[in-house]
């Protein structure tokens, strides 16, 4: 028996998934949730094998929810938005169902889950798929982090700077600092490059939070931030900074 949960904010859409599942007796819906937060809690509580996940939801989007999970079950996205398909497959989603979808299309997705013993093969396929699709960069407008037992959603404008810490990054805001498992490269690409500048191998700074540049040694600068932090600026970082400030 495969344990599944549905995370979807619209009642009719949930009803439809449940109806389609009647053809798949080996899948049992153990719970349903109508927003991102409760969905996240639900996954941790029920440990399902399969999640039907909407993307556009209150509190947390489907993607933000996945970012907050250490390991996640099989995911089938259900959404009316076609522009997230690439990102969905990058997150190793089993399938991406565009609303409205048919019983046949739905069953096809569900059958993939059942055949998923062959996981390695599946991943190979996904990698092939994403390789052929162009990198359409979606800009972040908020970042979700785990903070103790709580979830914190940080609007990107509140970020002062980001510091690299091995496999993690530390995100500094006026309120505190938050650790997140993500790469610097990711943030460099997905944050507005007119505002967030890679000033050093270890730092991405919000240009609005930089108060001044201090001469540190010959040809070497320190960026002084609004919270008092002083960050090293590399040569190339200094060039980036100058370019952005010029425009």
């Amino acid at each position: 028996m495969i344990k599944a949960i549905i995370i979807e904010d619209e009642q009719p859409a949930r009803d439809l998934v449940k109806h389609y599942l009647k053809e798949h007796q080996n899948i049992e819906v153990v719970a349903e949730f109508s927003d991102g937060f409760s969905g996240l809690k639900g996954i941790n509580e029920f440990k399902p094998d399969l999640v039907f996940l909407d993307i556009q939801m209150p509190k947390l989007t489907g993607f933000e929810l996945l970012e907050l999970l250490d390991s996640y079950p099989q995911i089938i996205f259900t959404t009316a938005y076609d522009q997230y398909a690439i990102k969905a497959f990058e997150m190793n989603a089993v399938d991406y169902l565009l609303k409205p979808f048919s019983q046949e299309r739905f069953s096809q997705a569900v059958n993939k889950v059942q055949n998923l013993n062959n996981k390695a093969e599946q991943q190979g396929k996904v990698q092939n798929l994403t390789k052929h699709l162009s990198d359409e960069v979606e800009q972040l407008d908020r970042v979700v982090v785990k903070f103790g037992n709580k979830i914190k959603v940080i609007p990107v404008d509140d970020i002062l700077y980001i510091e690299s810490q091995d496999d993690y990054v530390m995100i500094y805001t006026t309120e505190g600092k938050y650790l997140k498992q993500q790469t610097m490269k990711y943030f460099e690409i997905h944050l507005d490059s007119g505002i967030f500048i890679r000033i050093h191998r270890s730092y991405i700074a919000n240009i609005n939070s930089i108060k001044q540049l201090e001469l540190y040694e010959k040809n070497s600068y320190l960026a002084v931030l609004s919270n008092g932090a002083k960050l090293k600026v590399s040569d190339s970082g200094y060039k980036h900074l100058k370019n952005v400030l010029k425009n």
Binding site: D9, E10, Q11, P12, A13, D15, L16, H19, S34, D35, Q56, M57, P58, K59, A80, Y81, L98, K99, P100, F101, D141, R142, V153, I154, P155, V156
Partner: protein, 356 residues
Amino acid sequence: MMVHPIISNLRNFSVYSVIWLVIILILTFVDVNIFKADFLTAFTSSCVYNLSYEILGIGLWYNIRYKNFEKINQVNRFLYHLTEASIISIIWVLICQFIISTLFSSEKHLFNLSNGYLPFTFLAGVVYYIFLTLFYYLYISYINLQEKIKNEATLQALVKETELNLLKSQINPHFLFNSLNSISSLTITNPGKAREMIIKLSEFLRKSIGNKEQKMISLSEELQHLLLYLEIEKVRFGERLQYQFDIPETCNKFPIPIMIMQPIIENAIKHGVYEATEPILIKFTCTSIFNGIKICIENNYDPEAPPRKGNRMGLKNVDTRLKLTYHSENLLKTSNENNIFKVEMTFPATSLKQSI
């Protein structure tokens, strides 16, 4: 088609003739007082010279109007006119001389006298040529300028209309797909409701797609259209979406730009209902003000929901549309207080007729 500036209407021709008459009198006066000619001979010769040039001058127009000067460069054009001025003046002087000498053949002294100012008459011919040519050029460029201004105005009106059409809200594809998904679900759980929703959706689409030409609509019709949209969305969102209309009877007939409120409702749903788990109430109120009406749309939102960097395109489009329609600023105001987002729109009653 450019007509002759002088002979195309009587008034212009009269003015032209009067100018020549003045010239005739002045020259007669000069002849009599400076060259000591007797009045009759002076006046007659002046008439011969100037009346003949009056007719010649009318003809000069065709020379400028129908010559393809665009292909000739400035220097060549100048040389052309210089040559033409000289040749015309010489011929003119000779012919006039001949006429005068025939008229006054008996009075030899006069013939000699007029011989004395031959270069002067030639110069006068060149000056006449220059004046008339400049006048015609000026006239042509004036007409061209007028035409250009007219064309520009037409173009501007066209641009404005296109802009207005672009600003008209377009049907959001996600709204459509999500609604179709709801219908798909309702066909199983509640076929009657599915049918009802298909009818509402069709009605909404028909009005949205069909109204390409119509620019203004009565408030009550616009609200009916909005109600359809809200009812469709309510099937998706259930209790999370609430709405309330407070529209006095007197406002119902008032004309407003078609679908002007649609983007505002979409925003309220996107930033309010999408992000909240609690019910969101969208409230419409309308008040009559001096010379128009004021419509207020407000919605609460989840204060916990982090601000999404929503594009303000929708609101900006509404603002531009109001500006273009009513030629007036500050018709759209927004405020955000106590977790209530409020949009206020003023629709003036005046300039409605001249708006496109």
